[in-house]
């Protein structure tokens, strides 16, 4: 299965204040956008971050070919258990996650 980073142009994560993390998936074009919208679920994001799925906000933005997720920060920014003050490295976990494309899903 392809990884999200193989399909999307760029995945970026940043703090949205000290208590929230936001991840922007820039798909690049319509095909990649469709692939991500259909093949990358909110539940998958919840599993990756061990977050409560109902707390994750998801925005599919066709005008920008962007899928955006916002979730409570895994640890509050700068708390002693936090490992990344600016929250930018978290994107790598999504970039390396496998994405179920429409084709691979229909084969199952």
């Amino acid at each position: 299965m392809p990884k999200l980073g193989d399909v999307a142009q760029k995945v970026r994560s940043k703090n949205a204040g000290p208590f929230w993390l936001t991840v922007d998936i820039f798909c690049g074009d319509k095909n990649a956008y469709k692939c991500v919208v259909e093949g990358f679920s909110t539940l998958q994001v919840a599993r990756i971050f061990r977050a409560e799925p109902q707390l994750i906000k998801r925005f599919d933005i066709p005008d920008l070919n962007v899928v955006k997720f916002s979730l409570p920060r895994p640890k509050t920014q700068g708390a002693s258990a936090d490992r990344d003050i600016h929250g930018a490295s978290w994107a790598a976990l999504l970039t390396e996650a496998e994405i179920g494309t429409t084709e691979t899903r229909s084969k199952k």
Partner: protein, 451 residues
């Protein structure tokens, strides 16, 4: 129309001087620059200090004070000194005083203060005037009172008050990033949705355009919307770069909460005017029934000492986790045994760079690296205890064997002494809003005439 010149996303990040000159020639009505945010972590707010070098801040601020004089318009900085506490505002005022003397030009400075008394905010919490935002930590009045610094984020109303003093320069404590840009357009009757939306697009300087490092942008606000133009050579704004900027560090790309209401850009329309400028209309401002300001607070969370060791031998690189867990267990037991302390008084953690330092147990990629960096982190209630436990940890990180049978290993220490005190550490404790009867209730304003 109101023309706002924004030199960069933050004072301390530098700006393109040629582009700034172009901005001055365009006769702006105000120059606005942000001085900080929470993005660098709780220590700056906890200690009430700037993250940027004083020298850089002074050079860049002197350039902007000169630009202000040439453009004959006010200059405003929001969230002065990274965190916007009174101490950071005083630091900025001190720098301003030095520059005014050096430039030989009298300057009227309005100072807007945002620091709050923790005891007062604790009382407000008990009186239900402090309410939580989504994913706020569970707190009580005692915890609020233990904060070393609390600031309230001023909005456009408080910045307008400061501008109304007729000041040449406004030094504001903590404000929302947008308020310093939106205030004048709002006061002059520009479209409210356009004022806040343009302010959000402009608050990071040229980050909303190509060549984002160039900094300087110009935004024209009017009764329908706004037009954004980056001023550096080779920088272009396009409908895509401008609309995509709403994603940046925002948990919701369409809604932005501000004191007194929220911005909704769901129906905003972005149009290229030419190769450089973008016109935006259709943004909406929705006033709220209650006037609230967001609070930020930080408090001491213990004292930290760190040590670093490098593991290069294959056997230890492959088994670094077992090694680290064993050290933490044995050293914690020794600390309890020798120092008359309990587990509540300290924590010892070892993070393994090259393995799981970034994500801990969330890591999904597992490979054997060439070497592993081990960071020992001791956090304790007092500085003395933190240092003492770090010294207990030292011989483990230098010599701890995986098994008793093998020869005692020696790992690489990078420094002597190996223990690096980090002083007091801080944590953010507030993600709340404070309800106000009048916008100025939590803020104070003073005027200084600098000669």
């Amino acid at each position: 129309m109101v023309r706002v010149l924004i030199p960069s996303g933050a004072l301390g990040l530098d700006y393109d001087s040629e582009a700034l000159q172009r901005g001055i020639a365009a006769k702006p009505d105000i120059i606005a620059i942000d001085g900080g945010s929470t993005d660098s972590g709780p220590s700056y707010l906890g200690r009430g200090i700037s993250k940027y070098a004083r020298s850089s801040t002074k050079i860049e601020w002197a350039g902007l004070m000169q630009a202000r004089a040439e453009a004959d318009c006010p200059l405003v900085i929001g969230t002065a000194g990274t965190c916007g506490t009174d101490s950071a505002v005083d630091w900025m005022l001190d720098i301003t005083r030095e520059i005014a003397a050096e430039q030989g030009r009298p300057v009227k400075v309005a100072v807007l203060r945002s620091s709050q008394e923790p005891e007062q905010i604790a009382a407000d919490f008990d009186a239900a005037r402090v309410t939580p935002l989504p994913n706020a930590p569970d707190i009580d009045a005692n915890l609020i009172a233990s904060c070393s610094n609390i600031v309230a984020l001023a909005g456009a109303e408080q910045i307008t008050e400061a501008l109304n003093t007729g000041a040449d320069v406004v030094i504001a404590g903590r404000t929302t990033d947008t308020a310093i840009i939106a205030a004048l357009p709002l006061q002059k009757g520009c479209h409210p949705g356009g004022a806040w939306h343009g302010a959000k697009i402009g608050e990071c300087g040229a980050l909303c355009a190509t060549n984002p490092q160039s900094g300087v942008i110009l935004i024209d606000f009017d009764t329908e919307g706004f037009t954004v133009t980056p001023l550096a050579d080779g920088a272009h704004a396009t409908p895509h770069t401008v609309s995509a900027h709403m994603l940046y560090e925002n948990s919701d790309p369409f809604i932005l909460y501000e004191p007194g209401g929220h911005l909704d850009v769901t129906n905003a329309h972005y149009r290229a005017l030419d190769e450089t400028s973008v016109r935006v209309i259709g943004s909406m401002w929705v006033p709220s029934e209650q006037y609230t300001v967001k609070l930020e607070g930080a408090r001491g969370a213990g004292f930290q000492t760190v040590l670093m060791a490098l593991l290069r031998e294959e056997h230890y690189v492959a088994n670094a986790h077992i090694w680290a867990e064993d050290i933490v267990e044995k050293c914690s037991a020794k600390a309890r045994d020798r120092l008359d302390v309990t587990s509540d008084d300290f924590t010892i953690e070892i993070r393994l760079i090259g393995k799981t330092a970034s994500f801990g147990s969330l890591e999904t990629k597992h490979v054997i690296p060439t070497e592993v960096g081990a960071i020992g982190i001791v956090t304790a209630k007092t500085e003395c205890l933190s240092g003492e436990i770090a010294k207990l940890l030292n011989p483990y990180m230098l010599h701890h064997p995986l098994t008793l049978e093998e020869e005692v290993p020696t790992f690489a220490f990078l420094f002597s002494p190996a223990e690096m005190p980090r002083g007091e550490i801080y944590e953010f404790v507030l993600n709340h809003v404070l309800h106000l009867e009048n916008p100025m209730d939590a803020f104070t304003l003073e005027v200084h005439n600098l000669a």
